[in-house]
């Protein structure tokens, strides 16, 4: 057994001032030597608590063992055994609340940097040629996957490996769902996600873009066209608004709109790319989740002078990953905590120019377990802004549920599934990811996609 080592290796990153002006990746990744040194810290616990903390059950001690022994190909193979998108997960997973949270070193504040090692081995594989995994015998069964986000792509990859003919239907013109339109390239370079998707296509998965299921074709029509099973992974793409006056003024964006312009449409390269995006000098982002941090950091990179996160609770309750809020703060994003918007106000042209806010204090915990924000009397003030980005959450897109008779949907608009199998109320239809849970994480969606794929495989092989 190696000696206890509490010196977790830091992640090299771009200088905070420099990176605030570009869309290049912030975290630069370990070099080989650092990766091996970090891998040597792993105690190879027999009961593998880290693995239980992973929604897709990556064999963490095993891939780390192979890595530190210098057998990188074996390490990558172990990783790919359960995780189809490791280069993405290594970048966007909240490891600090999953595998790393249950590492025995976590109590001392220095868990093995599982995420950084995952990223390193995945990048090593991408640059050294990816091995095709073992594939099952062809089943002759056809599967339709609706949505090419983390849940859909994971289900697609597993089902292809199980020997089924898989077609993924994507409404947008590039695959990836939230990985494409939502997460900015400085957190997930598009060369990385494109390489991962290309590897999924090498498994035989067909990705059909520009098909809007619910419009171009319905779920029932997919069955009529010969598909034997359908997986719904359409995510939670419908933006929520605060519900205060003035939210439809020009210059008020949903985070989805703002990020879609920047990430999917590459508006940061306007006019080389045709889609524009406009940020004023003073930007307020309402909300404090990862999407809010992404929006604020994009606004800064697009030249805003003053970018504020406006959040009605305190730092403790912020839903963003600590790494994301720290990065945002390092880059110069201001945090106006315990502040809630009351109204957005506009000029004579109908464009937003101010946001009236109110200070809050925290009361007793509410249904979510977080302390409820209570308005402070007489604390109203006006924030001058040119741009407001509303990032308070999203709900499932209703296009598919509305056009699929027999599909049970909760009052929150989420699709109801058997939690063991991810099967919906409709025969032959499974669902997973944000469509089922409401907005959550990439890795949880991937976990749901894997679970559904396993159940679908049993169904298809038995049919």
């Amino acid at each position: 057994m190696p000696k206890a080592d509490f010196n977790r290796h830091g992640m090299p990153s771009q200088d905070a001032i420099a990176r605030g002006k570009n869309f290049e990746e912030v975290a630069l990744g370990y070099d080989e030597e650092t990766a091996i040194e970090e891998a040597k810290r792993c105690l190879q616990c027999k009961n593998k608590p880290c693995m239980a903390g992973c929604p897709v059950n990556v064999q963490i001690p095993e891939f780390i063992e192979a890595l530190r022994n210098g057998d990188f190909a074996a390490s990558a193979r172990i990783m790919k055994g359960t995780n189809n998108l490791p280069a993405i997960c290594g970048r966007v997973c909240p490891q600090e609340t999953q595998c790393e949270a249950v590492c025995v070193y976590a109590k001392r504040g220095a868990p093995v940097a599982v995420g950084r090692l995952e990223r390193w081995i995945a990048d090593w594989e991408l640059s050294h040629g990816v091995e095709l995994p073992s594939m099952s015998e062809l089943s002759g069964k056809k599967v339709a996957i609706v949505g090419s986000g983390p849940a859909g792509i994971t289900a697609a990859a597993d089902l292809a490996r199980f020997g089924h003919e898989v077609t993924v239907f994507e409404a947008l013109h590039r695959p990836g769902g939230v990985l494409q339109y939502g997460i900015p390239p400085f957190r997930l370079p598009r060369s990385i996600s494109s390489a991962e998707f290309a590897n999924i296509e090498r498994l035989g998965v067909k990705i059909q873009t520009d098909w809007v299921v619910g419009k171009t074709i319905t779920v029932d029509e997919l069955f009529a066209d010969g598909f034997n099973a359908v997986f719904l992974g359409t995510g939670a793409g419908l933006p929520q608004f605060v519900g205060v006056p003035g939210e439809n003024l020009a210059g008020v964006y949903s985070a989805n709109e703002f990020l879609t312009r920047v990430n999917l449409m590459k508006a940061y390269a306007f006019p080389e790319y045709d889609t524009p995006v406009k940020v004023g000098e003073r930007v307020a982002v309402v909300g404090a989740g990862n999407v809010a941090m992404d929006s604020a950091r994009c606004a800064l990179r697009l030249g805003a002078k003053d970018v504020s996160i406006v959040y009605r609770r305190s730092r403790t309750e912020m839903p963003a990953r600590v790494e994301e809020s720290e990065h945002a703060e390092e880059e110069g994003i201001h945090f106006r905590l315990l502040t809630a918007p009351l109204e957005m106000m506009g000029n004579e042209k109908g464009a937003v120019n101010a946001m009236r806010c109110q200070e809050m204090e925290l009361g007793e915990p509410d249904a979510s377990g977080r302390r409820r924000p209570i308005p402070k009397k007489g604390s109203e003030f006006t924030l001058e802004v040119d741009t407001v980005i509303v990032a308070i959450g999203t709900s499932p897109n209703p296009l598919v549920p509305r056009t699929t008779p027999g599909l049970d949907v909760s009052r929150h608009g989420t699709v109801v599934v058997d939690p063991e199998t991810m099967a919906t109320s409709k025969k032959g239809v499974w669902a997973g990811g944000d469509l089922v849970t409401g907005a959550a994480t990439v890795i949880e969606a991937m976990g749901a996609g894997k679970k559904a794929a396993a159940s679908m495989n049993v169904y298809l092989r038995g049919e």
Binding site: H173, W211, V212, K215, L238, L249, A250, Y253, P276
Partner: protein, 280 residues
């Protein structure tokens, strides 16, 4: 990639394209639209499906040259391709036998108005067709609307064809004369649709307009197309594009449309400069 099979220059500033898009053609209904991206660096723009041929797997779309994308698209010919054609998007127009229906098409709005009017005619309505444009040369599909109209009027702002004036003046006269008019549909520039609202509101005649705000994904994801209708926020892409004109907050629509005008001008100027250089 989606192949352009045929084109037709309709007016000095509009062009028709027949595009291979069987996935859209087999489902498209009047009032729906597609999202088009012309190339790798292009923006997503909504264009009305002016016609479709299910057997041939084609749709007809018309673009009016307003901004960079529509000018660039107008340089394309049969044999060229579009990078993206996605749809059909939006809720189809509500077609039933209302009785007597006025169908107003303003300029390029005829591309959207014609398929709706044709479906209304097929549903048994008596059609009062009213087509207008700034001048005669900008009228689109006059013959097509005439063919399905029981009564037919042409107006031009400058009087170069038909009556001098606006489409709404014909509507106004019909209403003043208390002629039977059960429903009004109209598609055209915002000022025209807004004028329709002012014209029919005092008479309480139900008026449906097809809105064309800025869109990106057009699947309900981004919300850029939000409009206030009857005090509620609606997404034109998935809740529309047809709305009750009397309920639309027109000031807000105009303000939201104006946000990117400077960027649109910049993109167009840059495109024209590049074209001029390429020619030189």
């Amino acid at each position: 990639m989606y192949k352009i099979l045929a084109t037709d220059v309709l007016t000095a500033n509009s062009k028709l394209f027949v595009v291979e898009a069987p996935h859209v053609a087999r489902k498209a209904l009047p009032g729906q639209f597609v999202v088009v991206v012309i190339n790798e660096t292009g923006e997503r723009i909504p264009l009305t499906i002016a016609d479709q041929d299910k057997e041939a797997g084609t749709i007809t779309i018309i673009v009016q040259q307003i901004g960079k994308t529509s000018f660039q698209m107008s340089t394309l010919e049969a044999g060229d391709t579009l990078a993206v054609v996605a749809g059909p998007m939006g809720i189809p127009s509500h077609i039933q036998n209302y009785g007597v229906v006025a169908a107003l098409g303003g300029g390029f709005g005829m591309a959207a108005m014609y398929p709706i009017a044709r479906a209304l005619k097929q549903a048994g309505n008596k059609i009062i067709g009213i087509i207008g444009a700034r001048n005669e040369s900008l009228l689109i599909w006059e013959d097509r609307l005439r063919e399905i109209s029981d009564e037919f009027f042409v107006t031009t702002d400058d009087g170069s064809k038909g009556r001098k004036g606006f489409v709404t003046q014909v509507l106004q006269e019909k209403l003043e004369a208390k002629e039977q008019l059960d429903m009004v549909f109209g598609v055209g520039p915002v000022p025209m649709m807004r004028a329709m609202t002012r014209t029919t509101l005092p008479y309480g005649t139900k008026t449906i307009v097809s809105l064309n705000p800025v869109m990106i994904d057009a699947t309900g994801l981004c919300g850029v197309c939000r409009v206030t209708v009857g005090g509620e926020t609606k997404f034109a892409c998935v809740d529309g594009p047809d709305f009750d004109a009397h309920q639309v907050d027109w000031d807000q629509l105009v303000a939201r449309q104006a946000l990117f005008v400077p960027e649109e001008k910049l993109a167009l100027a840059r495109f024209e400069e590049q074209r001029a250089q390429a020619k030189a």
